[in-house]
């Protein structure tokens, strides 16, 4: 690691609370029953290809992503399909799902479960992309965008760099940190797989300085990969946001409404790289992920390798059980995660953490008048004016909201986090985004 970089505009420094940084990843046994959502990713839900009564193994395809932006879904357990109907998603809505009762732990034969590292990459680029799609790999940082789509670079776009996100800027979360420490070579080979899939010469990995051990070990092991560079980044939220990460490492800015592709990059998370390693080198589709289960009053918080579809309650049980003072349970981190309504919600491919907040931590303070302190403006990494966007949304001035670029908001939450008046800035900005989208659609159609 040579250079310390960061993004120059906006940002905040929430307390890190990375309690579980030193807890090695523990493998969580499958629960008695999993509910695997067919729409865990951005895009169209997969279509179920199993029926009630079918027996499945770990790795059996149970949902097929047919649309261009969609993803396959595999069984994460072995057992019998109990029903194909609905289950709660993180937002509390009932969504199509496959519910499987677990029997034993039998894996599909093609999957190589040996611990041996497979270094040699023999798969050609197009095949890698196809198999990433087949394996149901999506962005593991939280957004869950189908990974293969990013690797199908449209005609006329030039891509020169693969950017790998090891920032994990959300407070509390340590899953990626542990991956980089405990699965260093797998992650690096995964990065190399993705780099070849993208057919670029350069892959850069950004890791924040609060994970100096990860920077050290990743840099050291990366010496064997001539195309991979590791960068230490100054700790600043939201550095793990795609646009901020690209700016920090490559000093390129992705304008509002544009994609990393437009500035010649593709961004993926270290967890996604590991998933790519698993599929391409070990024939192992995406059936589990590392989840940080944490919170100030949780007795055995830690990082767990959890089968997709495992209910939150099962993971929380493994981490010491639900403390009595918990008032809010979050899928993901405190800045961008979703508060779940129910502990029966199941872990998806995008669930990076399960965070339990007690009453005091969960409480929102009373909102008072905006004092025009301009903290929200200087905290916004996109250069928006959150105080103004809130005001416009309250007055339902959607056209002006649009003019003031409400759609560019990346929902990082820095504005609401910093506001001394406790204004629910992002709540209103999200509303503004929905309304402006509606307005645009209405005027387009």
């Amino acid at each position: 690691m040579a250079v310390v970089k960061t993004f120059p505009m906006g940002g905040v420094h929430p307390p890190e609370n990375k309690f579980t940084a030193d807890s090695a990843i523990q493998i969580l046994d499958p629960p008695d029953e999993v509910a695997i959502l067919l729409g865990q990713h951005i895009g169209a839900p997969a279509e179920a290809v199993v029926q009630k009564g079918d027996t499945v193994k770990v790795g059996t395809l149970i949902g097929e992503g047919k649309a261009f932006i969609s993803a396959n879904v595999h069984s994460s357990v072995s057992g019998t399909v109990k029903r194909v109907d609905e289950a709660l998603d993180a937002a509390g809505f009932r969504k199509p799902a496959v519910v499987i009762s677990v029997e034993g732990d039998e894996w599909e034969e093609r999957i190589d479960r040996s611990p041996e590292l497979v270094t040699e990459i023999n798969t050609p680029a197009e095949e890698i992309v196809q198999r990433i799609k087949a394996a149901g790999i999506v962005g593991m940082g939280g957004a869950a965008f189908p990974t293969n789509v990013k690797y199908m670079v449209p005609e006329g776009k030039q891509v020169d760099t693969l950017v790998i996100n090891g920032v994990e800027c959300e407070p509390y979360l340590t899953a990626d940190h542990r991956l980089m420490l405990e699965h260093t070579d797998e992650v690096l080979i995964g990065v190399e797989v993705l780099r070849r899939a993208l057919q670029v010469e350069r892959a850069v990995i950004g890791i924040e300085l609060n994970k100096s051990d990860a920077i050290e070990i990743m840099s050291k092991h990366a010496e064997r990969f001539p195309h991979i560079e590791v960068y230490g980044l100054k700790v600043q939220y939201p550095q793990g946001a795609e646009k901020q990460l690209i700016k920090a490492i490559l000093d390129r800015e992705v304008p509002g409404g544009k994609l990393p592709l437009d500035v010649g990059c593709v961004v993926n998370n270290v967890g996604t790289a590991l998933a790519a390693y698993h599929e391409i080198q070990k024939n192992r589709p995406l059936i589990d992920r590392v989840v940080t289960v944490t919170g100030s009053s949780l007795s055995k918080r830690g990082n767990f390798q959890v089968r997709i579809g495992t209910p939150f309650s099962h993971a929380i049980e493994a981490a010491g059980g639900m403390p009595g003072d918990v008032a809010k349970v979050i899928a993901g981190g405190p800045m961008m995660g979703k508060a779940v309504p129910d502990l029966n919600v199941s872990v998806t491919k995008g669930t990076s953490g399960i965070l339990l907040l007690n009453k005091r931590e969960a409480q929102r303070e009373e909102t008072v008048a905006c004092i025009r302190c301009s903290k929200c403006v200087s905290a916004c990494p996109i250069g928006l004016e959150p105080y103004l966007l809130e005001k416009l949304a309250r007055m339902e001035y959607w056209e002006q909201s649009d003019e003031h670029d409400v759609l560019d908001c990346i929902e990082c939450g820095s504005c609401s986090y910093i506001c001394p008046s406790n204004r629910p800035l992002l709540d209103y900005i999200k509303l503004g985004k929905v309304k402006v989208h509606e307005m645009r659609r209405a005027s387009a159609g």
């Binding site: 505009m9 905040v12 929430p14 307390p15 407070p171 646009k243 390129r252 800015e253 992705v254 304008p255 509002g256 500035v263 639900m322 009595g324 918990v326 008032a327 809010k328 349970v329 405190p334 800045m335 995660g337 979703k338 508060a339 779940v340 309504p341 129910d342 502990l343 965070l355 931590e361 969960a362 929102r364 303070e365 008072v368 008048a369 004092i371 025009r372 302190c373 301009s374 403006v377 200087s378 990494p381 996109i382 250069g383 928006l384 004016e385 105080y387 670029d405 560019d408 939450g413 609401s416 986090y417 910093i418 506001c419 001394p420 008046s421 406790n422 629910p424 992002l426 709540d427 999200k430």
Partner: protein
């Protein structure tokens, strides 16, 4: 396992920053200024600050409670800030009842009539000061000898003027500055504060200590005071270079009168200054420039109050024209 869970939008974390922590932070930053005014002007200064602060708090409470029928928010500390700044902006010779009137105007008229905290376009303390200058010109322009009659409760001893007053008088008489040179304090006195003037405007050092604290606590951004004072120095410096016998030098202008207090504590007022960084720079440059123009050519010796109030009026316009640069726009990528 049947706890009801709170469901609300992200983020689920909130910084410790509150309106209260900001305003009481400014109060702390004002303490060195307070200490110097007590040291230089004695008991009267302490009483004056307590009276204005109390009058501002009580006025705000009464207006909120009985007129607007809101839950009073005086514990946020903003009225105390206004009260302290009002006292620091006037002479220790001003009678207490006039201080009370000024406080009432500052809070009731300049702040609450516009809707209270966050909504007032003009700096309340400066409106209070401007009102008092017009209404009570005699006392507002009576300056007390520093370090004398420290324990006296009344005001009897008056000297001629403040440093800025001396040079304005010389200019009015058409005489060169050298005629008043003997009356002018040295720079070290002006820096430390053992000079005549408004209670909080005398010591540049005290203001700087408070300013450093506010920078450390991120209560202000450095651009505002630096650009304000820089513009003032540049504006007055041009004339000094042209004719040093008729015009005071830029350092004098920066240290004299309300420039330091205004640049660090008044132009940085959150509510009445622009939101974007560029906006703040334009605003501060305007304050510095207008201060220079009033001091050099105006009828008053001092121009900081009116400069800031005038620029306050331009804030909506500045906010509209100087927006933060949107990420990805205006750069080659």
């Amino acid at each position: 396992m049947s706890q009801t869970l709170i469901v609300s939008g992200s983020p689920h974390a909130k910084s410790d920053l509150t309106v209260r922590s900001i305003m009481w932070g400014v109060v702390i930053a004002l303490l060195p200024v307070f200490a110097v005014s007590a040291y230089v002007f004695g008991v009267r200064a302490i009483i004056a600050v307590l009276v204005t602060s109390a009058a501002c708090v009580v006025t705000e409470y009464i207006v909120q409670r009985f007129f607007l029928k809101q839950k009073p928010t005086v514990d946020d500390g903003s009225a105390v800030v206004t009260g302290m700044l009002l006292a620091f902006n006037v002479s220790v010779a001003v009678p207490l009842w006039q201080l009370v009137v000024g406080s009432i105007v500052a809070i009731a008229v300049a702040k609450m009539a516009f809707g209270g905290i966050g909504t007032n376009p003009f700096n309340p303390a400066l409106i209070g000061r401007a009102f008092m200058t017009v209404s009570f010109p005699v006392h507002m322009n009576t300056w007390v000898v520093p370090r004398e009659s420290l324990l006296s409760l009344g005001v009897d001893r008056a000297t001629g003027a403040t440093p800025l007053g001396y040079i304005a008088d010389a200019a009015a008489r058409g005489e060169p500055l050298s005629t008043v040179a003997a009356e002018l304090p040295g720079y070290s006195q002006m820096f430390l504060g053992t000079i005549g003037g408004s209670m909080g405007e005398i010591s540049a050092l005290a203001v700087l200590i408070g300013g450093a604290y506010m920078l450390y606590r991120k209560l202000i951004s450095w651009e505002t005071p630096v650009v304000f004072l820089g513009t003032l120095a540049a504006g007055t410096g041009i004339f000094w270079i042209i004719d040093p016998t008729a015009y005071a030098d830029p350092l004098f202008h920066v240290l004299a009168g309300g420039a330091m207090l205004g640049a660090w504590f008044m132009a940085t007022d959150m509510t009445t200054s622009p939101m974007s960084r560029n906006g703040k720079i334009v605003f501060a440059a305007g304050c510095g420039l207008i201060t220079a123009v009033i001091r050099l050519f105006g009828g008053f010796p001092e121009g900081v109050t009116y400069a800031i109030l005038l620029m306050n009026a331009f804030v909506p316009l500045i906010d509209n024209k100087f927006r933060p640069r949107r990420f990805g726009k205006g750069v080659a990528s």
